[in-house]
């Protein structure tokens, strides 16, 4: 990226400020820039240049410090929370927030694991890239059972925006025509292995209501001209994505939205700029700009724009709103409803099951597929007999055991070495990805006294999985085991876990959309009910979690909101 893209001090009044550079922020910047709007992207962390700063990429295990593990002392002092994320390791640790500098608290008796990616690109570098649309059943869910408020949008409102972002980002998957999971604009799907195809066929007979499909993922299985023009090539199936990918094989801000935004000449980026709060003008009832604390030297500065998009991650965005207080908004800006910070959700991954697959000894695979299989939520229709509300999807996949699974067996010497050299038995497993109900009690708030090093009040979480989520996970374990056994797997085991919320890293809600300004923060275009030039387009805006991985919906909501904001700006309504 050209040096002049990065700025520090400026008095320019931009057309748009975008707070955050992750999946939502990248999309907001691209869409504004491509419509000819001068845009300032504000990032609290440092710059990560595509390719150049992927310092953990393509490094063989034997060349990595501690073979990919992270030093005990470093983990204890700086990564106590972040280490709980499956993707935390030696060659990704620089993309995770530093827990020493980013303290937060949880209400006594509750737990919440807050995983952070505070650098240019945000969690778009670290995400797991599974991409699914929300469908009509999802948008209707709150209305049907009364938990949470009704989504102010339906499929018809967002369909074309899903298509818009999918074509640019590149989503691999297969058309399935399912009632419960809309298709996307697809690049070819990844292949299934032979046992997966076999299990798929068995499930199709045994559980016709539970089709097993290939996971949909933001990887270029067959790049289009558009992707090549972004500087991206085919996914090489290394599955080392979280270290960064110089091929641009997966969608990230760096690989996809940032080059498009920068190409327009309309983009500036202010890195190392921690947003303290929004500058509000009560007379005009508009946001004028943002107050910044410098990430490094803690000095203060301000940036100005006609419209502000808050895309700082679910919790980050709401923290900024809560810390922006004024006479009119003593409890956080745009919070006349009083629901800001409430209805915090995550997904629930607390159920796993697996078993041995016999046969297929002459079958293997090559490459490391950065995706698995998916059984979309089969409880999409409410049923009071089920005993809990909403449902779950099942993810999973098959693999042949390698040395690491086989090492536990008894044995020493040449025989042992030769056994570990061979590919072992096939295994197939499922994990649940459950919906979490939107509940008022589950919330984040500003700590009354504790602050971080930038002088910003720390977050206190008060979030629990409810009985509904626990019952759902028990059901998932039972159903998964039953399905695996029915498909002929042996040594089937399953486990319902009790992990705290947060670790799905699918934080959602806290500044929800809605039709009624009295019970929601944002309208159906992610625009603040209270302040017309303020938008929040990341996960904070969600009314329900559904079961789908949410990032694709962040993209579509953001692109749609920019389109709306640009029209409103032109009409001088904001």
């Amino acid at each position: 990226m050209k040096e002049q893209v990065y700025i520090n001090k400026t008095s320019e009044v931009y057309d748009a400020i975008v707070i955050g550079s992750g999946i939502s922020g990248g999309w907001a910047a691209k869409e504004f820039c491509e419509r000819g709007h001068k845009t300032l992207m504000i990032e609290r962390g440092g710059v990560v240049e595509h390719r150049k700063d992927y310092i953990g990429e393509n490094t063989p295990m034997w060349k990595q410090d501690l073979r990919g593990r992270v030093e005990n002392i470093l983990v204890d002092q700086q990564h106590k929370i972040q280490k709980q994320c499956y993707a935390f390791g030696n060659n990704t640790k620089h993309f995770f927030g530093n827990d020493r500098d980013l303290p937060y608290t949880t209400k006594e008796g509750t737990e919440f694991s807050w995983i952070r990616g505070n650098m240019l690109g945000g969690k778009s570098l670290l995400w797991h890239r599974q991409t699914y649309r929300l469908g009509e059943y999802d948008f209707n869910a709150n209305k049907l059972d009364g938990y949470g408020n009704d989504w102010p949008i339906r499929s018809k409102d967002i369909e074309k925006w899903y298509s818009h972002v999918e074509i640019h980002a590149g989503i691999s998957g297969a058309k399935e025509n399912l009632p419960n999971l809309p298709d996307s604009e697809f690049l070819p799907p990844f292949e299934m292995t032979a046992p997966e195809k076999d299990i798929q066929a068995k499930f199709a007979k045994l559980y016709p209501e539970r089709p097993m499909i290939m996971g949909r993922t933001a990887h270029l299985t067959k790049p289009t001209e558009l992707h090549i023009s972004q500087g991206r090539v085919k996914c090489q199936a290394r599955n080392e994505c979280h270290a960064g990918c110089s091929f641009g094989g997966y969608f990230s801000t760096q690989s996809s939205t940032l080059p498009a935004a920068a190409k327009t000449g309309n983009l500036h980026i202010a890195p190392n700029s921690v947003v303290h709060s929004l500058i509000y003008d009560e007379v005009s009832n508009r946001i004028k700009g943002v107050r910044i604390i410098d990430n490094n030297d803690l000095s203060e500065r301000e940036y100005f724009a006609k419209v502000v998009f808050v895309c700082a991650s679910t919790i980050g965005s709401t923290q900024i709103l809560m810390n922006s207080v004024s006479k009119k908004f003593p409890n956080g800006i745009a919070n006349s409803s009083g629901v800001l910070g409430h209805y915090l959700m995550d997904h629930n991954y607390n159920s796993v099951a697996s078993g041995d697959v016999s046969g297929f000894e002459d079958e293997y695979y090559s490459g490391r597929r950065p995706s698995g299989i998916m059984i979309p939520n089969f409880y999409y229709k409410p049923d009071p007999k089920r005993g809990f509300l909403r449902g779950y999807a099942l993810g999973g996949g098959a693999y042949r055991e390698g040395w690491d699974a086989q090492q536990h067996q008894d044995g020493l010497g040449i025989d042992y070495k030769n056994k570990l050299k061979q590919a072992g038995k096939w295994r197939f497993g499922l994990f649940a990805q459950g919906e979490m109900l939107p509940r008022f009690e589950n919330q984040m708030r500003l700590h009354p006294t504790l602050k971080d090093k930038w002088g910003i009040p720390q977050i206190e979480f008060d979030v629990r999985f409810s009985e509904n989520e626990k019952l759902m996970m028990e059901d998932a374990t039972e159903q998964s085991m039953k399905m695996l056994k029915a498909a002929g797997l042996t040594n089937v085991t399953g486990r319902t876990k009790h992990g705290p919320p947060g670790l799905a890293i699918h934080e959602l809600g806290t500044a929800r959309m809605g039709r009624d300004p009295k019970t929601s923060v944002l309208n159906g275009f992610n625009q603040s009910h209270d302040i017309p030039n303020l938008f929040v387009t990341d996960g904070a805006s969600f009314c329900s979690s559904a079961v789908q991985n949410p990032s694709l919906t962040f993209m579509a909501l953001t692109a749609r909101a920019v389109d709306f904001a640009v029209k409103e700006l032109a009409a001088k309504r904001i």
């Binding site: 390719r51 150049k52 992927y54 310092i55 953990g56 490094t59 063989p60 034997w62 060349k63 990595q64 410090d65 501690l66 073979r67 593990r69 992270v70 030093e71 005990n72 993707a87 390791g89 030696n90 990844f190 292949e191 997966e196 195809k197 299985t221 500087g231 090539v233 996914c235 090489q236 199936a237 290394r238 599955n239 080392e240 979280h242 270290a243 110089s246 000894e361 002459d362 079958e363 293997y364 695979y365 090559s366 490459g367 490391r368 597929r369 693999y399 390698g402 040395w403 690491d404 090492q407 536990h408 044995g411 020493l412 010497g413 040449i414 042992y416 070495k417 030769n418 050299k421 061979q422």
Partner: protein, 224 residues
């Protein structure tokens, strides 16, 4: 065009100092990796990018042939010498080098110190002491002085938790075996010569033929 790739390949090999140790298969993978990149970026950028991808080479454990000559970070010289022999018995030299030849014992000493708890370090030391104590009880001499069959049988009993050993001791040995396997199969020899190494597969194929003489993949995704 083809020559361009070759010269970049050589240039990169030169920069990373790998030209003498990489196998033909690795070179092919590397060429594929570079081909994709050079198509987009041109050679100079690729060269600098790859040399930049060296997160912790300076800190990575470098195998040594004389790690038993001095005390380590967790084990003393005598314990390292004993551990080296255990490595040689668990994963011996065959057509490929074994765990002892690639200094898995030195690696374990370093890894235990940096990445594992004091309790695990203590357990490993106690296990080594147990092995010597058992040898002394049965043969009135240290483990290293008994013959190869006696050594193999003693460790086999320990591995099964039978006769002279109990289940707790067996678990401690399983833990040591995990360290040995991790050290060996993530070493350059273990990953690239004993197993199949393919850093840049170029794509995913869901079905390829397999026969039992084929080595399994050593390369994994980061978080499989």
């Amino acid at each position: 065009m083809k020559n361009d790739h070759c010269s970049i390949h050589n240039a990169v090999d030169g920069l990373t100092g790998e030209s003498t140790s990489v196998t033909e298969k690795q070179k092919q993978s590397r060429r594929r990796f570079l081909k994709g990149l050079t198509t987009m970026l041109g050679g100079a950028t690729v060269g600098s990018m790859l040399t930049g991808n060296a997160i912790s080479v300076a800190m990575a454990y470098v195998p040594s042939s004389d790690s038993i000559l001095t005390d380590g970070k967790v084990f003393n010289k005598a314990q390292l010498t004993l551990l080296k022999q255990i490595c040689a018995i668990v994963i011996p030299k065959t057509e490929t080098l074994g765990a002892a030849e690639v200094d898995t014992h030195g690696f374990i000493d370093n890894q235990l110190f940096h990445c594992h708890s004091k309790a695990q370090q203590k357990r490993a030391i106690e296990l080594l002491n147990l092995i010597n104590r058992t040898a002394e009880k049965s043969f009135s001499t240290l483990f290293l002085n008994i013959n190869a069959d006696q050594q193999f049988n003693l460790l086999t009993e320990l591995d099964r938790g039978e006769l002279r050993f109990d289940q707790t001791q067996r678990e401690a040995f399983k833990e040591l075996k995990r360290f040995i396997c991790f050290g060996y199969y993530t070493s350059e020899v273990g990953a690239t010569q004993e197993l199949r190494y393919d850093p840049v597969p170029g794509g995913f194929k869901g079905s390829i033929p397999y026969k039992s003489s084929d080595p399994s993949w050593s390369t994994r995704g980061l978080f499989d």
